[in-house]
Symmetry: C2
Subunit: 214 residues, 2 copies
Amino acid sequence: MSTTSGKTLGGRRAQAARNDEVILEAARAVFLDDPKAPIAAVADRAGVGISALYRRYAGKEDLLRQLCHDGLRRYVAEAEAALDEPDDWAAFTGFLARVVDADVHSLTVHLAGTFTPTEEMGRDAMRAGELATALVDRAHASGRLRPDAVVHDLGLLLEACAAVRVPDPERTRQLRRRQLAVLLAGLSSASGADPLPGPPPAAGEFDWRWRRRE
Amino acid sequence: MSTTSGKTLGGRRAQAARNDEVILEAARAVFLDDPKAPIAAVADRAGVGISALYRRYAGKEDLLRQLCHDGLRRYVAEAEAALDEPDDWAAFTGFLARVVDADVHSLTVHLAGTFTPTEEMGRDAMRAGELATALVDRAHASGRLRPDAVVHDLGLLLEACAAVRVPDPERTRQLRRRQLAVLLAGLSSASGADPLPGPPPAAGEFDWRWRRRE
DNA sequence: AGCAGAGCGGAACGATCCGTTCCACTGCTA
DNA sequence: TAGCAGTGGAACGGATCGTTCCGCTCTGCT
């Protein structure tokens, strides 16, 4: 392999470029499993030294921020893709299934508070909220979503799915799908007549994680 | 107040007896909020010194074990109480509501792995399982619980409710009740016809937490 | 009245743990 | 072939936390 300046590089450069990906993947895996894992765990998992990490990121906070922002972008992308789906209810459920599968919730909410967010993340988060609202509105319009369900019930739903975790990742995905199925059944208009109790979840109630904790 | 040897004591002894309770309450509050909180946080919250803690418990592990065992006993007690309820479905839902309110799940599952369990806890856990099965069986018999729901779906359900957490405890309770309502609606026979996906949660799948971790 | 000690507060200690830095080394790249 | 981008990993300094220990207070008994 290799050229002087082409796209595919051989030797050292190629390895370095590949490490970019390897490290990000390792970081995702490690921090999904434990949001406050040591940075050395990421290096180990990636099979590289610590220097390889610090060459790319100024510090742990940078890495976390990057990871979280990626998750946020993924959320937005999935939402946009879902809005292309013609069937309102399918768009809604498909979006949730993909977000749950990708474990986007753990990547975003569970990592919050460990770094200071950028302005761009704020904008993306806002856009994410708008898209989610659009999906919920369409689900409401389809008549399949119970009328007393609100956008922020998605927060509860995603949290519930993310909370399911067993050692085997594939099994985790299966169980989360089951959990999602139960929740969607519960949120559908078909289910029992008595309304959902308590004041519905509101806008600011899940942002508290974003305010610096430890 | 005070006598020489009566039941109500004044002064030092009384304070000590009262501290037993104060410390346990503080420990519950603190470790519910953060399962790996430092022991000093418990002392602070209780408004006592660290010595007051170490006078009562051999170490952190002892305290955690006690707390967890208490939660387990509470679970069993609520289940037994629920079985006295004549209405099958009400027994089922009432039990879950009380267990969710008391945050028993966080007290047991989330504290697991931080200590070596006693044999008695093993027995209590087994009894808990039997009682839960009895409640689910009755719920099935009532025809209100969808047939493809299994006992261990309760694990998913409780995890989902315990995952809901906001700074204000009372608000947390409300949101958990809402979550529970959605899940129960989803588990009721009234909901959609399509069966729950994936292999149902099985016996050993949630015990992994109990095997020592860190 | 006086004393022994139960009960306690909190400083201090030692063991980890973890983020970050630093330096020596390797093998491309120019 | 010279130089440096890229790297591995030891080492450091700070922080955290469980546990111990010492000195004090004030009670309950003689």
